[in-house]
Structures are given as C-alpha cells and as structure tokens.
C-alpha cells in the first residue's frame, strides 16, 4: 500500500518537474479549446452545442497524448526493474501509475472545464452534467490507456501507435460521456442511465486496465 502511494507521489513529482505536469495538460487543454472556439467562429448559438463534445474530445486527447510514454521512461532507465522486483502485485503498481496519470492529465482538465465552458457560453444548467460526466468518465481513459502503453513497451519497431489498441475502449467512453453531458443539459431522462453506464465503464476499466497492463509488462520485461 505504501508502495502504491510512493509510486503515485513520485510520478506526480516527476510530472511537475518535467516541464509542467498538471499545468502542462491544463494549458494544453485550454489551448485546444481555444483553438476550437476560434475555429468554430463567433456564433454563440453554434458554440453552445459544442461545449460538451469539444471538451470531451480534448480531454481524451490530452490523455492519449501523454499515455504513450507512461512506462517508457521507467523501462529505459531501469527503474521499472525495481518496481517489478518489489511488486507483490504488479497490478497495484500499474493502477498507481494510471492514477498518477489521471491526476496529472485528467483532473486538471476537469478543473479547467468551467472556465472553458464559460468561453463556449454553455448554459448554466449544462455545467453540472458536463463536470459529472468528465469526473466519472475520464479515469477510464487513463486506465484503458495503460494497457496500450504496457503492450507498446515491447514493440520497438511498431509501425502503429498503441493508442490504436486502446481506441475501441476509448470510443464508448467518449460517446457515453458526451451523451450524458448533453442529456443532462437538455434535462432528458437519459441522463441518469448514461451516467451510470459511464460509471460502469470506469469500474470495468479499473479491473481490466491493471490486470491486462501488468500481464503485458511481465511479458515485455522477460
């Protein structure tokens, strides 16, 4: 358990040192949203509808981008050896790394959301659902992503990025996330169920991610 916390804490520290961490992905996120606001153009009517999709897309994006190297650095400098050597449950350590990733890539995005949503002049009743959907859904992104990252360790010459492996897992998360946010904003009855479904996905990811990820790492390290 203390190992779990130690890993989380270390990855957080590293993320903040290595040019940015939380702030990194927050600004990235803001930048991205801004780009879209700019791209879509000034019509507020148009913008409103896009707050949820764009914010969700960007959140997923921020995750995908940073996940590729989730284990790579540790693998190269040998500290993954130490982690394997000391792990009674490698799954826990994968979970820890995924959690750290969510804290540095997922949470900041959520923190920035209200500001960005304002910029998209999202109607007031839209905020709670959007935040809820992100809060419930984004952990799944980090957890599913860990699988791709772990598998990717092995293939030096892979010509297809491992994001592809996680894509089928990202897609439903994204779709249900946007659904939930929009249903909530429009006060449709679908809101609760789609939010529940989203939660189910996250739970599933919390199970699948560590198991599959750990299995892949074990394979790649041997």
């Amino acid at each position: 358990m203390s190992a779990f916390l130690a890993i989380v804490r270390r990855d957080l520290a590293l993320a903040f040192r290595a040019g940015g961490g939380a702030l990194q992905s927050m600004t990235f996120f803001a930048l991205a949203a801004l780009i879209f606001a700019l791209a879509i153009g000034p019509e507020p009517a148009l913008l409103q509808g896009f707050a949820a999709p764009v914010l969700w897309a960007v959140a997923l994006f921020a995750a995908v981008v940073s996940l590729d190297r989730l284990f790579q650095a540790d693998f190269e400098d040998g500290s993954l050896d130490t982690m394997i050597e000391t792990a009674e449950f490698l799954e826990l350590q994968v979970l820890a790394k995924a959690l750290a990733h969510w804290l540095t890539a997922g949470l900041p995005v959520i923190a920035a959301t209200p500001a960005i949503a304002l910029l998209f002049n999202l109607p007031p009743e839209g905020y709670a659902p959007l935040l809820a959907s992100l809060l419930v859904g984004t952990p799944a992104l980090s957890l599913f992503g860990a699988i791709g990252a772990a598998v990717g360790l092995g293939l030096r010459r892979a010509s297809i990025p491992m994001a592809i492996l996680s894509a089928p897992l990202y897609a439903p998360t994204l779709i249900f996330g946007v659904n939930a946010a929009q249903a909530g904003a429009s006060g449709s009855p679908e809101y609760a169920p789609s939010l529940l479904l989203l939660g189910a996905i996250s739970l599933f990811s919390a199970l699948l991610g560590p198991i599959a990820g750990a299995a892949a790492i074990r394979l790649n390290m041997s």
Partner: protein, 188 residues
C-alpha cells in the same frame, strides 16, 4: 547461454569475469528473475527450484542502467525506495551513512557527478535489505575511496550471511570464487 552450473552459499561472494559482451549482465538479470531461464534451473536454498518471482523476492539487481531519475534529488530517491522495499524506511539512515550521501541529499541527481550518482543508485542495496545482491559493474566511475567503501560493505553483508554476485572488470580486493563467462564461438 549454457553451462551455468554453480552454487552460491549464503555469506559468500561470487565474482563474474568475462570480456565485454560475454553475457555477465544477461546472467545477472536471469538470476534476478528479470529474464526467463530457458532450460537450466536456479535453486534457492536446499534444492528448491526458484521461480522468477521467488528470485525477485530474494535478490536485488543494480545494473548499468541505474534507475536514477535526473529530475529527483537523492533524498527523494531514498524515500521512494524505502516505500517500495518493505521495512526500508528503517534503513534510510544506514544507507546515507554507508555511501556518505549526507551533503548530496538535496541536489538533483542530474547535477551530480557520475560517481556520486552511482553511489545514490547503490544506496538501494542497503535500503532493500535483501539477502542476495547482484551487482553489475558497481565500481564504474567511482573513485578508489568509494570503491574500498563498497567492498567493505559487501564483506559486512557477507558477514551478516548475505550473498553477492559481482560482475566487474577491474580486479577488486575480495577473495572469492570467480565465474568466468565466455562468449561461445558464433557461426558468423
């Protein structure tokens, strides 16, 4: 590789010699349970076949790539490791003392000199509290003093009943049985 039949008693040190690329690192990583052993088996204690996971539990490997992050200070490394290795927290001070890290603790390891950085990496041995030490070129780019220091540490470890396997090129002042690793003739 083949023919690796040898016995490592508790309280003894084995030296691995052999030219570059002979296979020392490979052997050590296998012993550490970080590589699969194709054929041949490793016996822990009275003839118990050890699975890689058991090996990982008993042995600690410090290799060429030292697992030290340039962005973190020595102190942060020690703290981190002490959390990974059960009971490590109690051994931090011992580690600092053993490798004279006192005045390096607050410096980013990226700013440390090669030898200083190496010492930080080796501090993991003490923190781990594992019985079997597997060292790959421990002395590389460490000065004579730190090297003597390290050897004393290994001997003390042996005295405490711990075992060690050390792969090295420079002759060091430990009287121990030596394993010679040779590169098998390849059909080029």
């Amino acid at each position: 590789m083949s023919g690796a039949t040898f016995k490592l008693q508790s309280g003894e040190t084995l030296l691995l010699k052999g030219s570059n690329g002979a296979g020392k690192t490979t052997l050590l990583r296998a012993l550490a349970g970080l590589l699969p052993i194709s054929g041949g088996r490793v016996l822990l204690a009275p003839a118990v076949k050890a699975s890689p996971s058991e090996l990982r539990a008993a042995a600690i490997y410090v290799g060429h790539t030292d697992g030290v992050k340039s962005a973190m200070t020595a102190a942060e490394h020690l703290l981190f490791w002490s959390r990974l290795y059960p009971g490590g927290a109690a051994r931090i001070d011992a580690a600092v003392a053993a490798f004279g890290l006192d005045d390096l603790l607050k410096i980013r390891t990226g700013a440390l000199s090669a030898g200083q950085r190496r010492r930080v990496a080796l501090a993991r041995l003490v923190i781990s509290g594992k019985p079997i030490w597997l060292l790959d070129e421990p002395g590389a780019s460490m000065d004579a003093e730190s090297n003597a220091n390290l050897i004393a540490l290994v001997l003390a470890h042996n005295a405490r009943g711990g075992a060690a396997v050390i792969a090295t090129h420079d002759r060091i002042a430990i009287t121990a049985r030596t394993l010679v690793v040779e590169r098998a003739p390849q059909a080029a």
